[in-house]
């Protein structure tokens, strides 16, 4: 491989970062970065990955401080250089891309100025040249209309756009080393794929050495040449990517669940559900548009799509947590829209929700036992204190926790454990239907797998129906029987999990699946052509496109797509697709299968 012969551009030796109490947060880390090589740095939360990444630039986030070791760049130790010389190395020789790009940009300066001044600092150009350079860099990282975007402020950018700005800033002075600290956390899969492809190309074309901090096995498998594993402040493994994944079962996709047998009546049905949020100037945000959906008892339906596609709003409308603008929802045979406030409150026992961040959904001051008892206090006046305590203990056991957690407070537990208890609380009133709104997206990959296993077991035991909202296709594939794909408030494709994942028809679904990163280093995304990709980002839900909503980003778009709204139409094999060209793919596939 290239890595064997390439020169080492950064070497860290015995790098140590300490907390004010003297505890080593990064403990004697040794690592080498070679030109043209992408090195992954992974490990559980709190292992010290980010701290190590910052330490490579000779920086430590307060209250930590650098406590020892060397960072050799171009034969000089960055840590023993005088501050002014060390400063000049940062940004010129080693660039940084951070996890939260919007927070990293100054809120009161336009982004063109921020990119330009970094370049200016390291090259000594004048202000006009810096502006030109900023616009050039924005164009290079694929931002449309870079002249206008250069005048934008951080809060006016989407997360994906802000991350591109940071790359533009990092690449402006053309450093030989790039450190990227979880650069794609918080980005949608299609944007994540665009971003990582760009980084990969930058590394390979320019010979940049890159350290990529990530917890995602899919990112490691697809983009990294080598993987460093960190645990409790120490680098415990340094292996080529294939060796890192060797021995793991490469389950590109978990076993797909078959549909529950009984064709029972749906537990929840939505017909032509729409939600518009009016704006001041008479326009409206079209969050959900004509959504029709039904879920049967014991069935898990996945709702996928990018941020801004209306998934969360759809889930909340189904529970009438927010009032739909139009349409009807039937839950357990009763029309939610006509219920009185009192009846609706009683029916809430049958329909529950689990939200994304468990730390937000529990009262931080309450012991968890009290939080778990609360739904019983509200909905079960017939139960006495003893019965409630018994039910709480039963719920805790049900989600596989120790009874002692009833005495704990939220901050005493890890996010994964707390999310289990959030699920237990949702189950307290024996609901028939639960909306799971991104319940795994703030969790580590391991905790995510455990939650999915738990949800599968609970569904098998209790027969509860799920609407599982997520942008993480791996968990959707592992949990759901059916998948609904949303784009800009509309359903664009619906079908069984097998149909959607193995043979997606809508161009957007195809792009979503193609952007998904399998945990398989033998089948890397960067090694194969990518015909199914959508460019750019989701359009504004205020000024909707006139034709098909995807037309501006679609690789299959023809003139007709720009003018003609698309309708959801059934296709062979129990699925519906919102694309007039979807049927063509059918014949494509037949040809392909025939060959």
């Amino acid at each position: 491989m290239l890595a064997e012969t390439a020169s080492t551009v950064l070497a860290a030796r015995g790098l140590t970062v300490a907390s004010p109490g003297g505890r080593a947060v990064v403990d004697g880390a040794d690592l080498d970065l070679r030109s043209g090589e992408i090195v992954g740095l992974t490990g559980p939360s709190g292992a010290g990955k980010s701290t190590l990444a910052f330490a490579l630039l000779g920086l430590a986030r307060a209250p930590f401080s650098l406590a020892g070791g060397q960072v050799l760049i171009g034969g000089r130790d960055l840590l023993s250089l005088p501050e002014e010389a060390a400063r000049a190395v940062r940004g010129r020789d080693i660039g940084l891309i951070v996890q939260n790009p919007r927070a990293a940009l100054h809120p009161m300066l336009d982004v063109g100025r921020q990119i330009g001044r970094i370049w200016r600092t390291h090259t000594g150009g004048d202000a006009r040249a810096a502006r030109d350079r900023a616009v050039e860099m924005l164009r290079l990282v694929g931002i449309n209309d870079p002249d206008r975007r250069a005048a934008a402020f951080a809060h006016e950018l989407s997360g994906g756009m802000a991350q591109r700005v940071l790359i533009a800033a990092a690449l402006a002075a053309d450093p030989a080393i790039l450190v990227a600290d979880e650069p794609t956390s918080g980005l949608d899969v299609t944007v994540q794929a665009q971003f990582l492809d760009m980084m990969w190309r930058a590394a390979k074309d320019r010979g940049t050495a890159m350290l990529l901090v990530t917890q995602e096995p899919g990112v490691l498998a697809n983009y990294c040449d080598r993987v460093l594993t960190m645990e409790a402040g120490r680098i415990v493994a340094d292996r080529p990517t294939r060796a890192h994944f060797a021995g793991r079962a490469v389950t590109a996709r978990a076993t797909i669940r078959s549909l529950p047998e009984a064709a029972a009546a749906p537990v929840v049905t939505a017909v032509s559900l729409s939600k518009r949020f009016p704006l001041r100037d008479g326009k409206a945000v079209h969050a959900v548009d004509d959504l029709t959906l039904s879920i049967r008892p014991g069935e898990a339906v996945g709702l996928v799509g990018e941020s801004g596609s209306g998934k969360t709003t759809a889930g909340r409308c189904l529970l009438r947590l927010i009032e739909p603008t139009a349409g009807r929802v039937t839950l357990a045979g009763r029309d939610l829209s006509t219920l009185s406030a009192g009846d609706l409150r009683r029916l809430r026992a049958k329909a529950q929700i689990v939200r994304q961040d468990p730390f937000d959904s529990f009262d931080p001051r309450w012991r968890l036992g009290r939080s778990l008892r609360e739904p019983l206090d509200v909905h079960r006046p017939d139960m006495d204190a003893v019965a409630k305590a018994a039910r709480v203990a039963e719920l805790i056991r049900l989600v596989g926790c120790e009874p002692a957690v009833a005495e704990a407070r939220p901050r005493d537990l890890a996010a994964g454990m707390l999310q289990r208890l959030a699920i237990a609380r949702a189950l307290a009133t024996e609901p028939a239907f639960i909306v799971l709104d991104e319940p795994t997206s703030v969790l580590t990959p391991d905790a995510r797998r455990e939650i999915v296993a738990l949800l599968r077991r609970l569904q098998d035991e209790l027969g509860v129906a799920y609407l599982f909202i997520s942008h993480d296709l791996t968990t959707v594939a592992a949990l759901c029987h059916r998948v609904v794909v949303m784009y800009l408030g509309q359903i664009v494709e619906e079908g069984t999990t097998a149909a959607i994942f193995d043979d997606p028809r809508h161009p957007y679904t195809r792009a979503l699946i193609a952007a998904h990163l399998d945990e398989d280093p033998a089948n890397r995304r960067v090694d194969r052509p990518q015909p199914d990709r959508v460019e750019g980002e989701i359009p504004s839900p205020i000024d909707l496109p006139t034709g098909c909503y995807l037309a501006s980003r679609c690789p299959m778009a023809l003139d007709r797509c720009g003018t003609e709204r698309q309708a959801l139409a059934p296709l062979a094999g129990d699925r519906t697709v919102r694309c007039w060209r979807a049927a063509e793919l059918d014949t494509d596939n037949e040809v392909r299968h025939a060959l």
Binding site: L59, A62, R87, G91, V98, A103, H106, L109
Partner: protein
């Protein structure tokens, strides 16, 4: 955008002032006080009492009095609120509007200079304390905070008079705005320093500044406390922010990083400055009285003690209007500084 915002806010301010005018008018009359007795004295005959009452217009029903206050009824001798008048002072017999116009500039001059001094001292000291935690500025701030914030203006005023006038003899006595022997310049704006300059008298300008030295010092001394604290906190938070860490990682020079942090820290401080303004008006009342400056604060106290209803109403309305104007100016300035704020 900003123009529309300003127009809307002025509209809202007019409504606020109208409500305030009504409230003040009636609330003041709910007081268990007898202004007539105050004017005629305890030994007046019933006839003299009734005559005084009729003279003040207090014999008429409340609605009629209110109509006269607004300028809708009455003899037309005195312009009402709708004609831009504030009535006639019961004590002096002069129009309240004219009296306020004479006293207000003194207060504005005092507050303006104190504000300037407090900001010129407070912002650098606060920023310095944040940039060098534990340094001299930081420690000094702590000690200063313990003293300045813990004592009201009149304590410091007396201490300063004792130290700088009685002790060191470098400040004039608390006798007003100029030496009693000096012929004041023509009152054009009412602010002594400005009038001295307009009259082409730099000697008077310096004398006026000299006489303002202790009042301004007193007010600024107390006011710097919250300003230093606020700048210190906001700058400290900005220095710990992601964007400052990123700016350092990008290799930007230390002075650029410090400027970034200050810029981010200053915008949210604007809101607090508005709050401080109200706080300062209260402080000005005490300081004016202590140094015999004859400002609006002193006028307000005199009017309250004399039950001079028209004067009290006038002072309340004028001070409210000024406060609303200050808030508006600060909001516009904040929006111009910070692109995240939309008006």
């Amino acid at each position: 955008m900003i123009g529309r915002f300003v127009v809307r806010r002025i509209g809202v301010a007019i409504v606020q002032l109208a409500v305030l005018a009504v409230a003040v008018f009636f609330l003041i009359r709910l007081l268990p006080a007898d202004p007539v007795a105050r004017f005629v004295g305890l030994n007046a005959t019933p006839e003299a009492y009734a005559a005084a009452k009729a003279n003040l217009g207090l014999d008429r029903p409340l609605t009629e009095q209110f109509a006269a206050f607004l300028g809708l009824a009455g003899d037309g001798r005195v312009p009402g609120l709708l004609q831009g008048g504030l009535g006639v002072s019961w004590v002096s017999g002069a129009p309240v509007a004219a009296e306020v116009a004479a006293y207000l500039p003194v207060t504005l001059e005092l507050i303006g200079l104190a504000f300037l001094v407090a900001i010129l001292v407070g912002v650098p000291v606060g920023a310095w304390g944040a940039l060098k935690p534990g340094g001299a500025a930081d420690k000094g701030t702590l000690v200063y905070g313990l003293f300045a914030g813990s004592q009201p203006e009149f304590t410091w005023g007396i201490v300063f008079i004792f130290v700088f006038f009685v002790g060191l003899g470098i400040a004039p006595g608390p006798l007003g705005r100029l030496s009693p022997l000096t012929e004041p310049p023509d009152a054009i704006t009412g602010a002594m320093t400005v009038d001295a300059l307009l009259a082409g008298r730099p000697d008077l300008f310096l004398e006026a500044l000299h006489y303002l030295m202790l009042p301004v010092l007193t007010l600024a001394f107390v006011l710097s406390g919250p300003i230093i604290k606020m700048v210190r906190e906001n700058t400290g938070a900005a220095l710990l922010s992601e964007h400052v860490l990123y700016a350092r990682a990008a290799g930007l020079p230390a002075r650029v990083v410090a400027r970034d942090a200050l810029r981010a820290a200053f915008a949210p401080s604007m809101t607090l400055i508005g709050v401080l303004f109200g706080f300062m008006l209260g402080g000005a009342v005490l300081v004016e009285s202590m140094f015999s400056l004859g400002g609006l604060g002193q006028y307000a106290i005199r009017s309250i003690l004399a039950f001079d209803y028209p004067a009290i109403q006038g002072v309340v309305l004028v001070i409210s209007a000024i406060s609303l104007a200050v808030y508006l100016i600060l909001d516009v300035a904040h929006a111009m500084l910070d692109p995240r704020v939309t008006l």
